[in-house]
Symmetry: C2
Subunit: 218 residues, 2 copies
């Protein structure tokens, strides 16, 4: 485990999509799962479970489900970056190429973490609003982020994808997920092929944060 | 800033609901916001913004909106813990008392972070499913969790609440939030009145994680 502080971990937590097939040591996996378990959730209900897919055949089947979903997404992704200027375009093309690699090799990651949730154990305060609900995610994605930060600290590459929610029924059947539980996050994890973690590109705080009212920059 | 490692931070990240009104140093706030900015999001779109409510009158108005929502929630919360055995009941009652305190004093936290999101900048892959959507949360709650972990490291108490989504229109009007942006997380933050962070109670990994298929314990 690298001896890095929390801000260094967060500031270098980029998506790592080219993964070696080497196995992940069991004690490393346990620390990643423990980190997830520590996350807060509404009413401390922890309305999530994670399936660690190790079996090669099951991973290959997840890969077969992922490939067409990715390919469908890819066309749109390419369109969205067309208008970018040189620097941003080059960066996005690198990310896109890595994502295309993942699209082909999703099932070859040594482990795939599949996070599931039960809306029956959540107080979804935005359920009645005339817009997509997100609040249920407040009780699962902190755990997912903890797992990803633990991967970062352990030097294990990972990226969060939700594309397989598009074929959730097939995934649930494959993994025996009960009817009242659903999928919300998929993390293929493995040692990085290339450099792994490093610099990230994000908006500056001044463009993300306001004081007192909307638009009033910090 | 305490010199603690990431696992220590995560494993002691409990809800801190009794907050001192003392101001939070500006450089500490900046580090918390920066931590949030580093979080991953779908397509790196960062479809969130955060309003740092400092103004005393605006905070008091948020407190006035929060109080009745909390009181309505409190009755149900009390009912849910009635059946618990002694140890668990005592623990939950302590948490409930702290939450009641927050219900009364929400607007007195020196800062309230209000996270907003724009579903138009999200690929919500579970939008078409016959269940509550959560996937949009995958692009905002990692940022919220980063902010909370940063609070933990900085010794600033915080807790995540979504109760104000129940009166989102009033909140949006108060904070000038545009029509196509919505609220998803509220973090009252401040120095702790009591001990602050410390031991947490969570399910063991063995009850949260399965191998290969549902129910197959790690």
């Amino acid at each position: 485990m690298a001896n890095i502080d929390i801000y260094e971990a967060m500031s270098t937590q980029r998506a790592v999509r080219r993964l070696r097939s080497d196995p992940i040591p069991e004690e490393v996996l346990q620390r990643i799962l423990l980190a997830a378990s520590w996350a807060p959730s509404g009413g401390n209900a922890q309305p999530w479970r994670v399936i660690v897919v190790k079996d090669e055949v099951t991973r290959a089947k997840l890969g077969d489900l992922y490939r067409p979903q990715w390919q469908q997404y890819e066309a749109g992704a390419r369109k969205r970056i067309e208008h970018l200027s040189d620097d941003a375009l080059a960066r996005q093309e690198r990310a896109l190429n890595a994502a295309i690699h993942l699209g082909e090799h999703f099932g070859e990651a040594p482990l795939i973490l599949v996070f599931c949730f039960n809306p029956g154990n959540m107080a979804i305060t935005d359920a009645g609003l005339d817009r997509p609900t997100v609040v249920g995610g407040g009780s699962v994605y902190p755990a997912v982020q903890n797992a990803m930060l633990a991967c970062r600290v352990e030097g294990i590459g990972c990226t969060l994808t939700t594309l397989l929610c598009l074929c959730e029924e097939e995934v649930k059947t494959l993994l025996d997920v009960p009817a009242n539980w659903y999928t919300c996050a998929f993390l293929p994890i493995g040692f990085p092929v290339l450099g792994g973690y490093g610099p990230i590109h994000r908006r500056p705080v001044a463009k993300l944060a306001y004081v007192d009212t909307w638009g009033n920059s910090v």
